[in-house]
Symmetry: C2
Subunit: 153 residues, 2 copies
Amino acid sequence: MIWRLRSGHPASYTSDMILKKPDSVENKPVAMAGAQNVCMQLLCGPDDGCPNFAMRKFTVAPGGCTPRHQHDYEHEVYILAGEGVVFGNGKEQRIKAGDSMYVPANEVHQFRNDAAAGAGSLEFLCLVPALVHKPGAPQPIMVDCAVEAVPAR
Amino acid sequence: MIWRLRSGHPASYTSDMILKKPDSVENKPVAMAGAQNVCMQLLCGPDDGCPNFAMRKFTVAPGGCTPRHQHDYEHEVYILAGEGVVFGNGKEQRIKAGDSMYVPANEVHQFRNDAAAGAGSLEFLCLVPALVHKPGAPQPIMVDCAVEAVPAR
């Protein structure tokens, strides 16, 4: 994190606004066990100076999914494009562009693109506390994707 | 904020996942001085149990703008639809769907939809620390929209 005072500006200015174009951010395959055909762009994170929360964009190809997992921090999610399924509260629900979700800490959750091959990707923003993207952050607890972790209500 | 233990689930479950459809969230005109033709939906906030940050969706009609203002907390912004102009770092830059921004604390900033009447709205997510949406939060410092607050670099 670099704090840069800008000459001639009020002392309250401590860093610059950052504007990123979509193609300027590396889109990395998610290597976490259980992730299938998922890529992530870290749009705002600690390296940008973000003190409190981090914004990531996920792209899930048809047939792909995020791991069914849980962790002790929350997600705030906004579906940008496509449709699919979210697992949470012990069941699956359909989601599509424009939907938003709050996934509280310790909730077992998963996002799946159940579209046929060749259909569109499921794209969503998923925000987390900035600490998650700092070195040494604790790893999420993984839950077997083949098993319903929590009985449906 | 309501924490609800769910019978039959592990004790680590402290609240439910919340899934909101776009039309289920009230879209309120922004009443802040200097805001013109802007509406806001609070998608995730303290009332949902969000502990750290809040997700809002803004819609700026053609010719509209957010106030040119500053405050002691940051924004993380993602442009969902349309195009327009962001003021930050003392200058205006064009923005469009897919762009993302980190607006650090104390940065004078503004979003404008400079499209002609009848064109599409500028829509974006703007996230802030959750405290901002708790009662009694401090109000932003307003900057005269007609004046360049910070000299262009």
